[in-house]
Symmetry: C2
Amino acid sequence: MSGPTGGKSGENSTISLPGHQAQLGVQAPLRLDSGAELSNFTVAYQTYGQLNADKSNAILVCHALTGDQFIAESHPMTGKPGWWEIMVGPGKPLDTDRYFIICVNIIGGCMGTIGPKEINPANGKPWALDFPVITVGDMVRAQTLLLDQLEIEQLFCVVGGSMGGMQVLEWAAKYPERVFSAVPIATTAKHSAQNIAFHEVGRQAIMADPDWCDGQYLSFGKVPSRGLSIARMAAHITYLSDMALLRKFGRRLQDRDSVSYGFDADFQVESYLRHQGSTFVDRFDANSYLYITRAMDYFDLVSEYNGVLANAFKDTKTRFCVFSFTSDWLYPTEESRLIVRALNAVAANVSFVEIDSDAGHDAFLVDEPEFEKLLAGFLEGAAEHRGLPRVVKQ
Amino acid sequence: MSGPTGGKSGENSTISLPGHQAQLGVQAPLRLDSGAELSNFTVAYQTYGQLNADKSNAILVCHALTGDQFIAESHPMTGKPGWWEIMVGPGKPLDTDRYFIICVNIIGGCMGTIGPKEINPANGKPWALDFPVITVGDMVRAQTLLLDQLEIEQLFCVVGGSMGGMQVLEWAAKYPERVFSAVPIATTAKHSAQNIAFHEVGRQAIMADPDWCDGQYLSFGKVPSRGLSIARMAAHITYLSDMALLRKFGRRLQDRDSVSYGFDADFQVESYLRHQGSTFVDRFDANSYLYITRAMDYFDLVSEYNGVLANAFKDTKTRFCVFSFTSDWLYPTEESRLIVRALNAVAANVSFVEIDSDAGHDAFLVDEPEFEKLLAGFLEGAAEHRGLPRVVKQ
């Protein structure tokens, strides 16, 4: 199998993505949890800052479901700021004067890394549902191949929120010697029934769209925009707290003084959601959405370690800092506590912070000064232990 | 306008509904909040028990979004037990040996009362989107016409959960002299931004289905099953708590020992949701779903009384008992507290009970012994004040 870069197929065919690409699985294929194999496939990634001489200052940022590798620069498709510009840059918590930041578009994604919208060399068409189902474990295993190629033996830190946090946990569990420190944010060690339920609604919305064409929409020159948009709308509600929606919109009307007695977007919150749905369609692939949500639903580090999460972290030397947010109801603080308890049970080096925020799950993406300060502080402390100077030495 | 009964149109055309029907708006039309008028329209309702000689023992049960008038008997379309058989019957809290129970299918509904699937006499086709948008106020106003026809001056009690609770609040606010006691359950005085957001996802899912045909699906012999099913799935998640989903399903697999690495319903919760969606389509009209969710979104008793909910209940003599459930995140206890505070502010006769339950919003529909006992107790106390004997006297 070979996976051409994202520029060659489907709805993004006119976009040439900036950044790095690596060919992985060339010597030996990547074996997936499903048993399928990926060989000679492209992984797109982005870096910020400079790798130091002994390659000890690399921070891997793992992105969330609909995130990508464009953390700290304008997004090449939307023109919007990078999704974590608040955190990543000179003098910021993930200080690019000090650290070398890497972010890899996950396998199964749609921003240049192999995924269902890329071309299947077996038939010259987009993979669509012939792409193998992937897991969070597979995403991380692909990332280890990239680090091998970059000759980075140990990451100074792996950090990520939401599905990014699942990857952090997977890294720490499976490759502890490669992870000096780890920061799982607003995440969980296993997807709950409610989490799966919301994802299933999104998948059914996509698959119900006649333009989905049993997954073959790219070959037919179509896009299941309505289904993908509805999936995004439903998911987006789970990213915000009730309070955040009240603060942002309440029951305020959109461009009118009184209700229309009709089915227009009378309320601002309706208009906002519709906008979230329709703009998402322009930048994301519907099949990728199916694959990535599936990977998240499959994530269950607890059962993988026979019901005892602590076993995942036995003898770990990694330094952990776990963050949760008070108003996050998608992955509530209690889920983080279970992770922390497991780490405590193996006497791991762990600190835990619950940030007081009304922003909901998305709090890790927005300006939360206390979160930024504490994350910066944890990284500084870890950097001292690791002996990293304040400015990169080549 | 005339509204034939539910048996004459659309997908339910083979079903002849049992129960009562009344022609309302015959002398004068019902004026709706939108300014539109309904005249000579059918309202379907069901009764249990016997009305006493002085017509003082009537309890009006107001149904929720997808409920109907078949409270305490097999549903004529699904064959399932009535939705409140737990509560309504001889010796039960709503004791049919003592009280006369009435439940009216709301206007805009699809079980025999006028709504978008009934025939528009202007063109002989189903109303579809030509049906006027209705409000909770309109639903209640239609119910007052029925009570006029039945010559019931004052209800002994108005009781209802969820949207039924909104009708209870509307009754108590607008027709206090007709309501001896009122029991709003698991409800809110105004729909929140999050409530509106979830409804909007459902509406968009329906309207995105090509079989919706701009609302004209019945005229084309179609049903937007996929869209309506997705709307139901999304809504259903909000009716259950995270804990209820964990208890019922957790991460258990459906009819298999290991995950399929595919997009089948691997997890029981997926299978359950799909089932909820597909069975709903058989008994509910998609346009009714649009109209009723819209009515709920428009409900805002607070702004109707200029931001002071207490004004809605000024000088009320009605006896209130407000119920909420600890794990209800759709209309959380805090919403009930706001109602209770407003009632307290006008020195109303009100008691408030938060029931400890992990069943989520749907707790009012399932077997919660404490809830049943306390509701029975409140009704008994009110019945004594009203002078109702233990058994109906004709």
